[in-house]
């Protein structure tokens, strides 16, 4: 997955490294910026749809009552195994619970887990990469060899080892998924810091007598952040998949909680007679991941290239 990013890195870096010279002329005409975003979106209906899907998922995660008034945990046993209909969009499960409501309420757990995973990967990986790139020498060697080792262990195996050590639960699964993608963040962050560190303006500020922390904070970090943030959006999609895979395997929140992966593994028992129990929650996951990946792709080059 990081392959495309590595290829595009130069382009992405070019685009995202530019705001220093590019942002200032656009400053007075702020409506023009908004118009530009709108034009960009309208020319790409798929991207617009992706943004809408992601906004809906975020809304569902924070205000599930906007979408459904039915209880995700309590069902009407007499109404079990109803197919999708006007009153139950996604049908009902074996206990007569409304599946749509469970998917909507599940967004909270799944999105929370995903955000924690991305945050862990971003912070830990970013820190490793920045330290390695900024300090250099043997610190760089040691940290990057460590990152190589992390990369050599398949991500799912690493997550499973962490789950074995930490135990079950949404947050623990999220941390396990996050740690498993630390390595790619460290690599990108290091590459960016190395690139920016050699820039003329960094040298200039050094020669003006700026302390190392102000060089790092004022010049290196802001200019190195772009590609790492793009990686974070890319990682968002794959983290949703990884988190839902682990909760499908049964390591997520305990049973009544409607985590997306758990919903599908519950529905698996009724695959032969109630297709909607697996198909529709899975569609929600797929749509969210697809939307996140599409937006990541737009950030990763398309936006910078179109001016």
């Amino acid at each position: 997955m990081s392959q495309s990013l590595v290829d595009d890195q130069a382009e992405a870096a070019l685009g995202l490294g530019r705001p220093v010279g590019d942002g200032s002329p656009a400053e007075p005409g702020r409506p023009a910026g908004i118009r530009r975003v709108l034009r960009f979106l309208i020319r790409r209906p798929g991207l617009l749809l992706s943004a809408v899907v992601l906004v809906l998922v975020v809304l569902a995660a924070f205000w599930p009552d906007l979408f459904t008034s039915q209880d995700p945990l309590k069902g009407v046993p007499s109404q079990n195994f109803r197919g999708p209909s006007g009153s139950h969009w996604f049908g009902t499960d074996e206990l007569g619970r409304d599946v749509f409501s469970r998917v909507v309420h599940g967004a909270q757990l799944s999105l929370k887990a995903t955000l924690i995973a991305v945050l862990v990967a971003f912070v830990v990986g970013g820190l490793l990469g920045v330290v390695a790139g900024f300090v250099g020498r043997w610190v760089d060697d040691v940290l990057m060899r460590f990152v190589d080792v992390l990369l050599s262990i398949p991500a799912l195996f690493l997550s499973l080892a962490l789950v074995t050590a930490l135990g079950y639960g949404t947050v623990k699964v999220a941390v396990a998924v996050g740690i498993a993608s630390v390595a790619s963040f460290a690599r990108v962050a290091r590459a960016e810091v190395l690139r920016v560190r050699q820039a003329v303006f960094v040298e200039a500020s050094r020669s003006c007598g700026a302390r190392w922390y102000s060089v790092l904070g004022r010049h290196v970090l802001p200019n190195a952040a772009g590609p790492v943030i793009v990686l974070a959006t890319l990682d968002f999609g794959s983290s949703i998949l990884a988190v839902s895979a682990l909760s499908f395997l049964g390591y997520g929140a305990p049973p009544p909680a409607p985590e997306w992966g758990t919903l599908i593994s519950d529905g698996r028992n009724y695959l032969a007679n109630a297709w909607w129990l697996t198909a529709l929650p899975g569609l929600a996951i797929a749509a969210t991941v697809l939307a996140a990946n599409r937006i990541a792709r737009a950030l990763d080059g398309e936006w910078a290239r179109q001016r």
Binding site: Q3, L156, T164
Partner: protein
């Protein structure tokens, strides 16, 4: 060449050692008390008798300093002994070796499908001059990397086992039982192969040698396959090397979905019962597969592209 191989082998051993160390840190060191976890997993119920805990602790060497434990475990691991699985009492190495053939069948078939389908998609998408077909084909790989594997598996079971009765829904029996799991596992891998190959094919088709070959009168299909594809296949090969580890790990999900026996099922069970030695064995095995395939890919590289001189030890990219 020989010096290069020896150097790479030494690197591979170093990575394996480090992977073992990481798994040791994560599994034996990170949690508060692996012994009570093991006692809870190995015994029937949660009754943990302190005397028995102390005995277990002594048996596993947890009463010794961490560094001594590490040295002892490492010494055994070098000889291929990862201890005994807590839940069954059988040696980890033979437990994994017994489960491996089934999983290798599955991942081998999936890899083949991924390369054939993903590669075929990329070749056709870049060859066709019909715009709609190209766009349709190129929109499939982003879809393939976005769908949850377990969901794809369940949908396939639903359609081809329960509705059409073409293939069995679970179990390990024969070639027919392999089709759906291998297809499921091939979806994300094939999608990534297709993405990388399509991209590098498009780059290759822009090169001057393609124009030269066309100007000399070679027909389009021949130029596409003999000239562009040959040059474009190297990045795809690198990706395949990186994806093999992912395929092995993906067997955890796919074997669970299809209730197949194999390494993945063993792993899932080991995590559920917190069987630390077994999980550790799996992690190191995963790293072994990764290191071995990448070594293989690096050795195959010069055969495909004579321009790559082996003596240069640092190449661009992430070999």
């Amino acid at each position: 060449m020989r010096r290069y191989v020896i150097k790479r082998l030494a690197q591979a051993v170093g990575v394996l050692w480090a992977a073992y160390t990481v798994s040791f840190l994560v599994l034996d060191f990170l949690p508060g008390d692996p012994v009570s976890a093991m006692a809870g997993a190995g015994m029937d119920s949660g009754q943990t008798d302190p005397a028995q805990l102390a005995k277990l602790r002594h048996e596993y060497g947890f009463d010794k300093p961490v560094l001594v434990q590490y040295a002892e475990y490492l010494g055994r691991a070098v000889r291929g002994d990862f201890g005994d699985a807590v839940s069954t009492g059988r040696p980890v190495t033979s437990t994994l070796a017994d489960a491996l053939p089934q999983t290798l069948q599955l991942t081998g078939a999936a890899l083949l499908l991924a390369v054939v389908l993903g590669g075929g998609l990329a070749v056709v998408a870049t060859y066709t001059s019909r715009r709609w077909l190209r766009q349709l084909l190129l929109s499939l790989p982003p879809l393939g990397v976005s769908v949850p594997t377990f969901w794809v598996g369940l949908l396939l079971v639903e359609a081809f086992s329960f509705k059409l009765h073409w293939f069995p829904a679970f179990g390990n029996d024969g070639l027919r039982g392999l089709v759906l799991p291998a297809l499921t596992l091939a979806v994300p891998t094939g999608a990534q192969v297709a993405q990388v190959l399509a991209k590098s094919l498009l780059t290759a088709l822009d090169q001057a040698y393609v124009e030269t070959a066309r100007a000399k009168g070679a027909d389009r299909w021949r130029v596409h396959l003999r000239h562009a594809l040959r040059n474009a296949s190297l990045p795809a090969l690198t990706v395949v090397g990186l994806l093999v580890g992912q395929l092995i790990a993906g067997s955890v999900v796919v074997e669970t979905v299809f209730s197949r026996d194999g390494l993945g099922r063993v792993t899932a069970a080991a995590v559920t019962t917190q069987d630390i030695p077994l999980v550790q064995g799996v992690v190191v095995f995963g790293a072994l597969i990764f290191v071995a395939t990448n070594l293989l890919v690096d050795l195959v590289y010069p055969l495909l592209d004579p321009r790559i001189v082996v003596a240069s030890d640092r190449r661009a990219g992430f070999a």
